[in-house]
């Protein structure tokens, strides 16, 4: 695996690089949000940007999520490309009016004459002891709204290309970064590159089961597939990338082959992306050998206690077990 010419970056470094390159590509790109330019630098994803680009292009704001969100909308309406950052997605509950009544429908109600080229980055998911107000994912709630793109990167190289495409997109994008991913490492090309925001990616190929996943749970699924392969069970693993408006044909053609479907999703199962995918598979009439399955969070809030936390989140073994069941005659 190790190749001296390959440049390895963490997820956090590749987010930073995407932003720095976007700043260079388009002088209308700027970053703002609470404490984005100091101390933790949003899990090190904004380090060095203030020094290089100054306060005009990266600045701290008061605790005003509603006004921050509409500030982004107003700036985008005048042709800037704002990146607004929330340290936890949970704070975005404040900005639901702005997303629901303004940003998501801005282009629609102008009959396509206006656009809303903004990105809202938010940190989601598990971190030890973060408890019910600091560890949600909320991704499927955002995906419900027409007009928003909801992106969930699963690795460093994916994060860079998806973020660059999100920043340059003329649609509003919610970019959800799973906290556990920040220290993951991967080869990331140095040049700026873009990824089609509507096209899911087939991460692994196999003939027996189709696993569809997004964000950090793609990584958990890969770990499960490693065990499954040892048992000679092959998996098609599809990374959705964009959970709100993805092209579903890759999923359809995969399940036509495997006839078995599992969705792995970090989030509550009720009203989720897995509900949506299973519904659409049922509507398509594609015949499966076994009823479709999903591995999600229990429909309850995230506990703080580490013992309860352990039970709450799924891991690769849970995915493995469901896959073995799917393979039983």
């Amino acid at each position: 695996m190790k190749n001296k010419t390959q440049r390895i970056l963490t997820f956090a470094q590749s987010i930073k690089e995407a932003q720095m390159q976007a700043f260079k590509l388009d002088k209308n790109v700027f970053i703002f949000g609470q404490a984005v330019d100091k101390t933790g630098h949003v899990f090190h994803t904004t380090e060095g940007i203030l020094k290089k680009y100054g306060k005009k292009r990266i600045f701290d704001t008061p605790n005003s999520e509603q006004a921050e969100t509409m500030f982004a909308a107003g700036a985008a309406n005048y042709g800037l490309r704002p990146i607004l950052i929330h340290h936890r997605v949970d704070f975005m509950a404040y900005s639901f009016d702005q997303l629901i009544n303004w940003i998501s429908l801005w282009s629609f109600k102008s009959s396509g004459k206006s656009s809303m080229p903004l990105v809202i980055r938010a940190i989601i998911g598990r971190g030890w002891g973060q408890g019910p107000q600091h560890a949600k994912t909320l991704h499927s709630m955002f995906s419900y709204l027409p007009g928003l793109k909801v992106i969930m990167p699963s690795s460093p190289s994916e994060a860079k290309g998806l973020l660059l495409s999100s920043i340059m997109s003329n649609d509003p994008v919610i970019f959800l970064e799973y906290r556990a991913l920040y220290n993951t490492k991967e080869h990331v090309p140095e040049r700026p590159y873009f990824i089609d925001l509507n096209e899911p990616r087939k991460r692994l190929s196999g003939k027996d089961i189709t696993i569809v996943s997004m964000g950090a749970s793609v990584l958990t699924s890969i770990q499960a597939v490693e065990i499954l392969n040892k048992k000679s069970i092959g998996v098609d693993l599809i990374d959705l990338r964009n959970i709100s408006s993805f092209n579903i044909s890759k999923i359809f053609s995969s399940i036509r082959k495997t006839k078995r479907l599992l969705i792995v999703e970090d989030g509550w199962s009720s009203g989720s992306i897995s509900s949506e995918i299973i519904t659409r598979v049922m509507e398509s009439g594609i015949k499966l050998r076994k009823p479709p399955q999903r591995v999600c969070w229990p429909n309850s809030h995230v506990p703080m206690s580490s013992q309860l936390e352990k039970d709450f989140y799924f891991d690769s073994k849970d995915i493995f077990k469901v896959c073995v069941k799917l393979m039983k005659a």
Binding site: F30, M70, D97
Partner: protein
């Protein structure tokens, strides 16, 4: 000072007072029984003063982000009557291709935007003003809100941002005393909206008259100061809507407004008063020829 107002400004003010009033009266008249305009409309008859005077100071690149009682401000921003009416009929030749209607009337060609979930538009104007500074433009953003909208939390977050970041925003509050049918007395401690803005270190003005020329002088000064200092200012105007909350029907049979209050305000009708004042000086003749 008002003596110095040029004829062409007087004519323009009167023209817009009349244009906004007459356009709305025509819509009200034609709404029923044809029923081909099928969207809720919040008319602003009686409230024409502020948009008619504001019109004199705005250039194309200046933006207005308005509340939903927006017809006056749309026309004042140079919006097309034809496109506005087409929008109300739900036609694809309308400002928004028939997708928004009166409540969210917007037109990128004249940088006019509005919406009906009370206060988001005001907040958006702040971001728009930052973008203008960012791109080294000399233009300003105008945020128009009502006394009802001034009760939402986002307003205070936005005033703070605009003041702290020194952004060229003109905040206008049209205080018509009613949020739908609920009087300010039932809603707030202090009925003057600007009393809640002063703590943000934003310069505030209060207008409690219906004199266009006096308002002209005031707005002239405020807008010059905003452009020079790049700091926001707030102006509140005491006004009154003659029509119902949402038209075209009246709603005074619900008796939520005292009859003498309505009559008092109608005696102060800005259109009639200005027409009278101009006629006295025989200027109306010139205006009628020119309009």
């Amino acid at each position: 000072m008002t003596k110095n107002l040029k004829y062409k400004n007087k004519i323009k003010i009167y023209y817009y007072l009349k244009l906004i009033r007459e356009t709305q009266n025509q819509i009200i008249e034609r709404y029923h029984p044809a029923d081909k305009m099928r969207c809720p409309m919040h008319f602003c008859t009686g409230q024409e003063l502020m948009p008619s005077v504001l019109n004199q100071f705005l250039k194309k690149d200046d933006a207005i982000y308005s509340h939903h009682r927006s017809h006056g401000f749309y026309l004042a921003k140079g919006g097309s009557v034809k496109k506005m009416i087409a929008e109300f009929y739900g036609k694809n030749t309308g400002t928004n291709g028939g997708l928004a209607g009166s409540q969210e009337l917007s037109d990128t060609n004249v940088n006019f935007y509005s919406g009906t979930i009370l206060s988001g538009a005001l907040s958006m104007a702040v971001g728009d003003a930052y973008a203008k500074i960012y791109k080294n433009k000399k233009s300003i953003s105008v945020a128009v809100i009502g006394d009802g909208g001034m009760e939402e939390g986002i307003v205070y977050e936005s005033l703070n941002l605009a003041s702290k970041m020194k952004l060229p925003v003109l905040f206008i509050c049209e205080n018509n005393s009613y949020s739908t049918h609920t009087h300010l007395r039932e809603r707030v401690i202090n009925p003057k909206a600007y009393s809640k803005v002063i703590p943000f270190d934003i310069k505030c003005s209060y207008v409690n008259h219906q004199n266009p020329e006096k308002l002209y002088v005031k707005l002239d000064k405020i807008i010059k100061e905003i452009k020079k200092t790049k700091k926001p200012q707030f102006i509140e105007i005491q006004t009154y809507r003659f029509n119902g909350h949402v038209g075209p029907e009246g709603d005074d049979h619900f008796n939520y407004r005292p009859k003498n209050e309505i009559e008092n305000w109608k005696r102060k009708d800005p259109l009639i008063l200005y027409k009278k004042s101009l006629s006295k000086k025989l200027e109306i003749l010139k205006i009628l020829i020119l309009v």
